[in-house]
């Protein structure tokens, strides 16, 4: 699907078209509390971000919120992670020591804060169930030619389960995370491949560093450049449908409307209670590294 959009984008760019900044007038909605957290089954300082929303064109960055009480507890009750605000990053709450979430376990996030300053503390909650990791048997990199551009495709081998599966992939190039933002995650589901063995399924493609100049100034965020000898590592995880939908809606909505695909813009789903926006979910990645031929 993404490729269809890429090709159509090329088609569109063939017309004598142009893009320029404009000023538009919108109204400003009231601020809401924003909570985002994605825990993993890796041993690390787990993180939750708590911030305040702003008017869309506000010229100050969104403010992190200090003084919230943030805890994550497992459903079995034996794990309670207290989280403390980072000294250096306002609004970032980290576990006091590195911890890891367990697959198939359910975790509840609880954030307590008096957002509307009325003297009573509101309680915001969300629940996630950590999905079973995906077993990746192997991966390979193919050389491709797409509309005259040389690209490297990343293909994986592994068994899809018979359940409805939703996958999120992140990539590292030479051990450094390139897909760090939500809009750079690669998503796919198993509507068409359900229950089958993924036999070299192509996940994404990378552009060739040698051709970087051909792309001009406006390189899309989701395009990464590699060359022979680079190591590409995939981090692939099954995720909950709600989180998959959240990321999909973020990716489709971040730029505004798209006249060809997608309907009128509307608010992104959330699984957090009490009127907050954002999402709380979990990620249980499996890694695999391949060297670019």
């Amino acid at each position: 699907m993404k490729y269809l959009i890429l090709y159509l984008g090329i088609l569109l760019s063939l017309f004598t078209s142009c893009t320029e900044r404009i000023d538009i007038d919108t109204t400003n909605s009231d601020p809401v509390l924003v909570i985002y957290g994605c825990i993993t089954n890796e041993l690390t300082y787990q993180k939750v971000e708590v911030s305040r929303s702003s008017p869309y064109f506000d010229d100050q960055p969104n403010q992190g919120i200090s003084g919230a009480k943030v805890t994550i507890s497992s459903s079995s009750g034996d794990e309670i992670w207290q989280m403390e605000e980072s000294k250096s990053d306002k609004g970032q709450y980290l576990t006091i020591q590195p911890v890891a979430a367990n697959a198939s376990e359910r975790y509840t996030l609880k954030v307590e804060y008096d957002f509307n300053n009325d003297g009573t503390t509101e309680v915001y909650e969300a629940v996630t169930t950590v999905q079973q990791p995906f077993e990746i048997d192997s991966a390979k990199i193919n050389s491709l030619n797409i509309i005259g551009r040389h690209q490297y495709s990343f293909n994986i081998y592994g068994q899809d389960s018979s359940e409805k599966d939703f996958y999120v992939c992140k990539f590292l190039v030479n051990d450094s995370l390139v897909s760090s933002s939500i809009s750079q995650y690669i998503l796919f589901d198993d509507k068409i491949i359900n229950g089958a063995y993924l036999n070299g399924l192509m996940i994404t493609s990378f552009a060739d560093v040698k051709e970087k100049a051909d792309y001009g100034d406006d390189i899309p965020d989701y395009l990464f450049f590699v060359e022979s000898g680079d190591k590409i590592t995939i981090e692939i995880s099954r995720v909950e449908k709600g989180y998959y939908d959240f990321i999909m809606q973020c990716q489709q909505g971040i730029d505004g409307e798209n006249p060809f695909f997608g309907g009128p813009p509307s608010n992104i789903d959330t699984n957090i209670t009490t009127g907050a926006v954002g999402y709380f979910s979990s990620f249980s990645p499996t890694k695999f590294t391949v060297t670019v031929p």
Binding site: S17, T27, I182, M202, P259, G263
Partner: protein, 868 residues
């Protein structure tokens, strides 16, 4: 049309065929020569005079014309062998009190007054007048309008140019026809008239805006209809050299575009899937090429179009907002002729010709050039890209006799886009086989079998991502339509239609993972209709009718049940051809026109329509991947009740046509889609629908100038439309994307000289309602939007000026080959009309900003058109 004066029979044959499909029931005689010296042989004893006349008609191809004062019942005996007509008739009529005169292939009979000395002609009594309308060359003018001045009583000339009309003996008849000067002739108690019309000094093609009759604006009982001839459309400025039918209708009052350059259009606040688009009576589902920048209609093949904005003819149904009825050329040339054009984006050619005397054919094609686009890009790597579209039209018509005509029409077109590893193509096939049969001079019927097919296909051939995705719609329709002129006050039209719908929403095949299918859905949509146009008085005509539609969903199918959260709760399987759901609706229609004065009238109309199929598309612009889906147990049919009222007035002797139309529509079971609806390859698509109600209202003002050096029109439309649907926008009323409070269109054509004509178009419309973010939340270093409601804002207003100049180097040429050049500038002052507004974050500060993408700056183009 100087070239055709040399081909006098061509003109006759062209008119004959174009008239066969209209409402008129006279026999056709399309012979090539008329001679008063033709011989006849008849041997009949004591038979009615009428029988003798029929025999003469059979043997000679003459046509007798007479009024009801001529006594055809009298018995006569005739015995002639090999006598000339004149001799025979002289003999025959001398005993019968009839005199006659011959005009080309017509023999006009008059009651001989001298045989009825007792007759008293009252000063003012109603008489039936028979007449002929001819041009200066003596050719009959078919389809000319004869109106009794000061009334709405009229008649239309038949295939021989003849008409019959009742009027009082002091009346004046007004005779009009496109391309000719109006003729007024006093009746003066004459029962037989021969009227010769003089050609208007300009070419037929140059008459800018044509109406069926010069005062149809005032007299016709149909309201909310716009007609454009191809001549008018050709004169308009074009985008990239392609003057486009859909772009032309977007200039009419009440019609909105669905986006810059787009081929979708919205009529009186309705969505683009509410327009029924017919090409020679066959449905075309996706009328656009190249993502909507061009329509599928080849100008050289099209004759004219009519857009019905509310008062859809009762014989058609199934769409709530409009009917766009496009007709291809319907001529019977007597030798091969053609026309074509070469433009920057595409070229076209049309050829038509005869096969012997009774058959004619037409072939037309158009193809775009991929190269053009690739040259616009500086990237050399794009040369592997395939990007083109083509259209093919073909027609074969055979006239068995003057009562029967059979025709086969086909349209096939495709868009292709791809490279070596990727391909995307889509297109339509529309075919019909039609038999027109004339029962009597008052009753005509048409039977046809139509096939409509729209399909698309996406293929990728990349290791690890190989797939073949297809989607298809197939409609097979049979229809029978009858027209019956009961008498001069009642004109009945009735018939039936049955359509079988076969939708394949999506099938994806992959070599590794088998195939994924969204199951077929099938339905039968049948209708019976009857309507009557009833002249109550000379000034007042009423039109009423009813259409009864039956919609049946057929298996095989798996039908899901959805709970209150729109989640699947159950499913039922039905076998092939099981009818598992039925809807039946009654759709009444009433219309009235009251003529206030000679050149003004008021009209009113009410209609109730139902729509059973709709587009699963929630974006503001259509995409070729959109899927149509049927009404069923989970999706109720959409309905509209519309009332409209209008005042029509012609000024300066019909030089100006003006009108004001007001309308109000109430929509029930309006469908929209849930937020973030998944519409692609979704077998639970119905779970994404949300139903509610809507309304639309507006006013349309139009002024047209039809003659003189400067012609054209100006229209202003006020149009509001909104929706209220539970589950969308928190149940609050929101503006529909087609809400456009103000639209102004100015289209002018100026004949600078015989060689040069100039044309300009200026359009303005209020910006489209849109949803802008009102807040933002951060995740990592990205900001995501927060919205407070749907369509609460508007994009910038749209306006644009187009200019064009047509140069005909040799307008008086009598050569067979003729050509002209057209230079157009689209968006002459380069207004950067916003195509889409998107958001991005500043690289350094991270603060969001808005960006507008506009498609077209100033776009010049040049086209060379020819005909022979």
């Amino acid at each position: 049309m100087p070239v055709f004066h040399d081909i006098k029979h061509f003109l006759r044959l062209m008119r004959i065929l174009s008239f066969l499909l209209l409402v008129s029931m006279f026999c056709a005689h399309a012979e090539n020569s008329y001679s008063q010296n033709k011989k006849v042989s008849i041997n009949k004893n004591n038979v009615s005079l009428e029988e003798i006349l029929n025999e003469v008609e059979k043997q000679t191809n003459y046509l007798f014309i007479y009024n009801n004062e001529v006594n055809l019942e009298q018995k006569v005996s005739v015995k002639v062998a090999g006598k000339t007509i004149n001799t025979m008739l002289d003999d025959l009529f001398s005993k019968t009190g009839i005199t006659y005169s011959m005009e080309e292939n017509h023999i006009i009979l008059y009651r001989n007054k001298s045989t009825n000395p007792g007759q008293i002609d009252a000063i003012k009594k109603t008489i039936t007048i028979s007449g002929l309308v001819l041009d200066k060359a003596g050719e009959p003018i078919i389809g000319a309008n004869v109106v009794v001045k000061g009334t709405i009583k009229g008649a239309v000339t038949d295939l021989s140019g003849a008409f019959k009309i009742a009027a009082d003996s002091k009346a004046i008849l007004e005779v009009t026809y496109i391309g000719y000067l109006k003729c007024e002739i006093p009746v003066e108690n004459k029962k037989n008239l021969k009227i010769v019309l003089t050609e208007d000094s300009r070419n037929l093609d140059e008459v800018v805006v044509t109406a069926k009759t010069v005062d149809e604006n005032v007299a016709s009982v149909t309201m909310g209809v716009e007609k454009l001839s191809i001549g008018q459309i050709r004169k308009m400025p074009s985008l990239m050299g392609e003057v486009d039918i859909i772009k032309a209708i977007q200039l009419l009052p009440g019609v909105q575009t669905s986006g810059e350059g787009g081929s979708g259009f919205s009529v009186r606040g309705g969505s683009p899937d509410q327009n029924l688009i017919l090409l020679d009576n066959t449905t075309v589902y996706n009328a656009s090429h190249l993502m909507g920048f061009f329509s599928v209609f080849n100008n050289d093949v099209i004759n004219d179009l009519e857009l019905y904005k509310g008062d859809l003819p009762l014989k058609y149904g199934g769409r709530l907002s409009s009917l766009l009825d496009i007709k291809t050329i319907d001529k019977m040339p007597d030798k091969i002729i053609g026309s074509g054009g070469i433009g920057l984006i595409s070229s076209r050619l049309m050829l038509q010709g005869p096969i012997e005397e009774k058959t004619s054919w037409l072939i037309g094609g158009r193809r775009s050039y991929a190269d053009m686009f690739l040259k616009l890009s500086s990237d050399e790597d794009l040369k592997d890209l395939t990007l083109y579209f083509f259209d093919l039209n073909a027609k074969l018509t055979h006239r068995f006799s003057n009562k029967d005509i059979l025709s086969l029409n086909t349209y096939y077109g495709q868009d292709k886009f791809g490279s070596d590893i990727f391909g995307f193509n889509y297109g339509n096939l529309a075919t019909s086989l039609t038999w027109g049969h004339t029962f009597t001079d008052k009753m005509y019927s048409k039977f046809s079998l139509n096939l409509s097919n729209y399909s698309y296909n996406i293929q990728t051939d990349i290791d690890g991502a190989t797939m073949d995705w297809k989607s298809r719609i197939n409609d097979l329709m049979f229809r029978a339509d009858f027209t019956n002129l009961i008498n001069e006050n009642h004109s009945l039209s009735y018939g039936l239609s049955v359509t079988h719908h076969n939708f394949t929403p999506g099938t994806v095949k992959t070599p590794e993972y088998g195939s994924y299918n969204v199951p077929h859905s099938y339905a039968l949509e049948s209708a019976l209709y009857a309507s009557n146009e009833h002249k109550i008085t000379d000034r007042f005509t009423l039109k009423y009718g009813v259409r009864w539609t039956l919609f049946q969903n057929l298996g095989k199918a798996t039908v899901y049940k959805y709970d209150s959260n729109h989640q699947v709760s159950d499913s039922t399987f039905y076998r092939s051809n099981d009818i598992y759901n039925t809807y039946n609706t009654i759709e009444p229609r009433f219309g009235a026109v009251y003529k206030l004065t000679d050149n003004s009238s008021i009209k009113a109309n009410y209609t109730h329509n139902t729509q059973f199929i709709q587009l699963a598309n929630s974006s503001s612009s259509g995409s070729p991947l959109d899927v149509w889906f049927l009404a069923g147990p989970n999706v109720k049919p959409q309905k509209v009740d519309m009332g409209s009222v209008g005042y029509f007035r012609n000024l300066n002797d019909n030089m100006f046509e003006t009108s004001v139309e007001l309308y109000y529509k109430s929509l029930t079971n309006v469908i929209d889609f849930a937020d973030h609806a998944d519409l692609i390859l979704n077998e639970h698509l119905e779970g994404e629908t949300r139903i509610g109600k809507g309304k639309a209202y507006g006013a349309e003002f139009m002024v047209r100038k039809n003659s003189g050096k400067l012609t054209g029109f100006v229209n202003y439309t006020l149009s509001r439309t909104d929706r209220t649907i539970s589950g969308i926008n928190n149940g609050k009323t929101y503006l529909s994307p087609y809400d456009k409070p103000h639209t102004l269109n100015i289209v002018l054509n100026y004949e600078l000289s015989e060689k040069v004509s100039l044309s300009t178009t200026w359009v303005y419309s209020t910006g489209t309602p849109t949803t802008y973010p009102t807040g933002r939340f951060g995740v990592g270093d990205e900001y995501l939007p927060i919205y407070s409601g749907r369509n609460e804002f508007r994009k910038p207003d749209y306006h644009r000026l187009d200019l064009s100049c047509t140069y005909n180097p040799n307008p008086k040429s009598t050569k067979r080959y003729k050509s002209e050049w057209n230079v157009s500038i689209y968006n002459a002052y380069s207004r950067k009309n916003s195509y889409m507004i998107t958001f991005d974050q500043d690289d350094i500060t991270g603060i969001p900003f808005a960006e507008s993408t506009y498609l077209f700056g100033f776009v010049p183009s040049i086209t060379y058109n020819f005909k022979f």
